[in-house]
Amino acid sequence: MPRLLARGLILLVLLLPHAPRAGTLDRAAMERLFPAPLVVGEKEASPPVWPIFRTAMTSPELVAYAFESADLAPIPGFSGVPPNLLVALGPDGSYLDVRVLSHHEPVFLEGLGEEPLHRFVAQYAGLGLRQSVKVGSATTGASRGGSAAATIDGVAKATASVRIINESVLAAALAVARAKLGFAAGRDPGLRVTPREDAFEPLPWPELLRRGLVRRVAPSNAEVERGFAGTSVAGMDAAALAAPEAAFAEIHIAYLNTPVTGRNLLGEAGWRALQRDLEGGHHAILLLSSGRWDALGEDFVRGAVPDRVALIQDGLPIGLRDIGLERIALPPGAPEGRATILRIGAQAGLDPSQPWALELKVTRERGQIFPERVSQVLAAAYEPQPGLFLREAPDAAGGWRALAAERAAELGLLAAALALLLVALARQRWLTASPRGFALFRAGFLLFTLGVIGWQAQAQLSVVTLAGLVRAAAGTGDLSFLLYDPASLLLWGVTLATLVAWGRGTFCGWLCPFGALQELARQAAAPLRLRQVRVPPRWDARLRRVKYLALALVLGSALLPAPWAEAAAELEPFKTAITLGFDRSWPFVLYAGGLVVANLVLHKAFCRWLCPLGAALVLGGRLRVPDWLARREACGSPCQLCRVRCDYGAIRRDGGIDYDACFQCMDCVVIHNDRRQCVPLVLADRRAARGRGA
């Protein structure tokens, strides 16, 4: 029957339509979300965004682009369904609002509730696309490494889910920004660009100039005069007319964050002081103004935003502010003049590895009382040297890599323990040589499974993952959500491998935290000497089939709307017992706790008869090849010791092991190797003793 069920399920998966991904909000819903004085404009087709206007003086002003993340970046979450977030992006790339429209993340639906999720998305307001928004772990919280990155607090126990949500928001917003806000196509605003610390050599001023690390711009009087030609201020500058070829201004600019410019220009002390000032990822530019025209102007105040100077990159202005140093000592060879260091905030989105330009405004005034002002702009372009910067891929794209790195220690511990188990089980003879030693090993490992694999690493495998796989495969086909929980992925890998080699028992008997909980509860309750309820084989066989029904229910409901899937998944007590540590509403605690208590008299009743994951593993275990647990010819004919002792009823009358039901507790192997217990061995010893004796 299980085979029939399996085939039926596969058919179901292929025939049912894929999960819908289209945007869900219509005009009425949008108008409710953006009420007066805002006006919802006509929805654009590609990308699918709603322009939101405010009518100011009846001339409409575009205030935001509103869109659903599922339309632009459907990244499946743990349930296999992508979360859908409403994002309102301002025309300057800032997040105005992020709201959750729908999600099916198990951890928020029942466990933690919706409140932490809403608090999480509320953090976006005020941040911008020019900052790469990263999710800090709930424990560290604070920004790691600063730079043009803003870190928002994660949610404990839901790290993977909120990272997927962050990625969805960022990816969708970037797609809109590229289409609507003119973000340079090649430039990813989330990219972290940092100067390389090791690219330094001492260079004198002429060499810095020659290599383009310091750039000199010296427009002539004639050039500037041409710029004013035809205006009312033409010809006002007598000195310029007298010496047209002479320099009107001499400007030197340099980007200071790279050591090869900063250290060479400012000296050791100055460089160190600058680095302190720039902590947090800010940038600095040197501006040296010699010649007739002063780029700063007489009324310039230290520490202020300069009037005549602007910085442009990609056609977009980037804010500057004087850093406020009184004196800047430049190396010999630099011309005399006024030097200033201008600071650019980390948040401004400057990419120092791309060209930028300083725009210098030259203004002439005519008239005394109400002077007429005419300006022109001189541009000083700066081309950064290649090889001076490190460009790091945004954290979001390699999000799961970062996650794995963070949990490296934990993953290492898990991997070591799993390796130990695999070695131990492979060498069953050695493992079971001493019954007491084995009992200690088993108890110890089960404690590790419950405490570390279960409660600490939260790597309890669950049929929900299988359901999510079904959903994702039927929908977007994107299975990358699995990468967001590396510990579980590791467990799955080992489980599947041992499934094929040894059957379901490796996971069910050793790696399932809930199973370990039940076993340990039994061992703790042993002194109570509770009467065990032994189920007759016929009933056992019938009850075993119940778990296949449970599996069909869970996987089938994965193709229905999410609330059904979530309800079906509650057949598993794992969320209550392991994920939330019994911290949940009483019906769920009653169910999970009740199963553990029932297990005290009905050994691992849930595991043998009800667990949908167990059912799936049994089906998978049919692929197993070797009958690997040690048996003798005498087993079953006529010795029935192991069969009687087996707590799981997994040994048949003929002595063969039913691997579908075997939980690899190794009791029968212990007996098999114990000369004092295994009946054929005992008999053989007695015969030998009698042979030797009188």
Partner: protein, 317 residues
């Protein structure tokens, strides 16, 4: 170069207008041609009104699909990319015909083939620089409306590297077509702002539609008193899309020099059709105010107002 979407003309009306004549008023806002559009209409029945507005928005989108330079898939964008276009849309042909008439009337001062110049300025200004005179001369060599061929096969550029921009006339044409669709749907009173204005009938309170022209130097103030609009109004200005910070070089370029005209900051033209008003305001900007008045008169239009670079405002008539 990102074109900033600043409408120069402001629809100055009491909002919400009291619909005294027993009319319902409705409005649609959105984005088209790189700027915001607004279509306001009145009708006795809400159902008819909404259907008409739906048709109007659809018409605007379809014109955009042919004429918009901002849409990489539009017929115009394809023509510019490939240098030729088979089976051009009648809308495109109609606009080109109108452009040709203006080109002839202004002896080349209005020339939609300035796209190579525009590209040069956009690319240079993104670097914070200006194009060299040599580069400008090279680009000017590609500016020649006579080198655009239209025949049974389609449209073709005779020289490689040529490009068309219909920004000086497309928004007006779009406004005309939207107005036509509204009229066909039974709407007698509407104000269409597709970047340029087309007015039908009157406001809800029976007063004529009024439009204010925003002062190009002071973002919020208006130039003089509002313009009473019966017919169409188009405004060209230097602050819509400037290549230099002081706005001496902007999106309206003199095809003969490669630079923007020096005298004007703004020119507003009133005409019976919006496409005509749009083209005349662009052409008039290039030829200067005096000649613009004569030019407009030839087409049955009139210059409403202009503002010089040093801030002087003139409202002829």
């Amino acid at each position: 170069m990102r074109r900033r979407s600043l409408g120069l003309a402001v629809g100055l009306l009491a909002w919400p207008a009291r619909a005294e004549r027993g009319l319902v008023e409705a409005r649609r806002l959105g984005l088209a041609f790189g700027t915001t559009f607004s279509i306001r209409a009145l009708h006795a029945e809400a159902r008819v009104l909404q259907a008409a507005l739906d048709a109007a928005v659809a018409e605007l989108r379809s014109v955009q699909a042919v004429l918009s330079l901002f849409d990489p898939d539009s017929q115009l964008s394809r023509l510019n990319r490939e240098g030729m276009l088979r089976r051009p849309d009648p809308v495109l042909l109609a606009v080109l015909a109108e452009a040709r008439a203006l080109w002839a009337a202004t002896a080349g001062a209005f020339d939609p083939t300035i796209q190579p110049l525009w590209r040069l300025w956009a690319e240079a200004s993104a670097r914070g620089a200006r194009p060299s005179e040599a580069a400008l001369a090279e680009a000017r060599a590609l500016v020649d409306f006579a080198a655009v061929e239209a025949d049974a096969d389609g449209l073709r550029f005779r020289r490689a590297g040529m490009g068309l921009t219909l920004n000086g006339i497309a928004q007006g044409h779009a406004a005309d077509r939207v107005a036509a669709v509204l009229r066909a749907a039974g709407i007698a009173d509407a104000l269409v702002d597709a970047g340029e204005f087309a007015a039908l009938g009157r406001r809800g309170d029976s007063a004529p539609w009024q439009v204010g022209i925003r002062d190009p130097r002071r973002g919020t103030g208006l130039v003089g008193s509002p313009v009473t609009l019966e017919g169409c109004l188009a405004v060209s200005g230097d602050d819509e899309c400037a290549f230099t910070a002081d706005r001496s070089e902007h999106h309206i370029l003199d095809p003969r020099t490669g630079h923007s005209p020096r005298d004007l900051a703004l020119l507003a033209v009133r005409a019976p059709r919006a496409a005509l008003a749009d083209g005349l305001s662009t052409a008039g900007f290039v030829v200067g105010p005096a000649r613009a008045e004569a030019l407009a008169a030839r087409f049955g239009a009139s210059v409403e107002a202009w503002v010089t670079k040093d801030g002087a405002v003139r409202r002829p008539g």
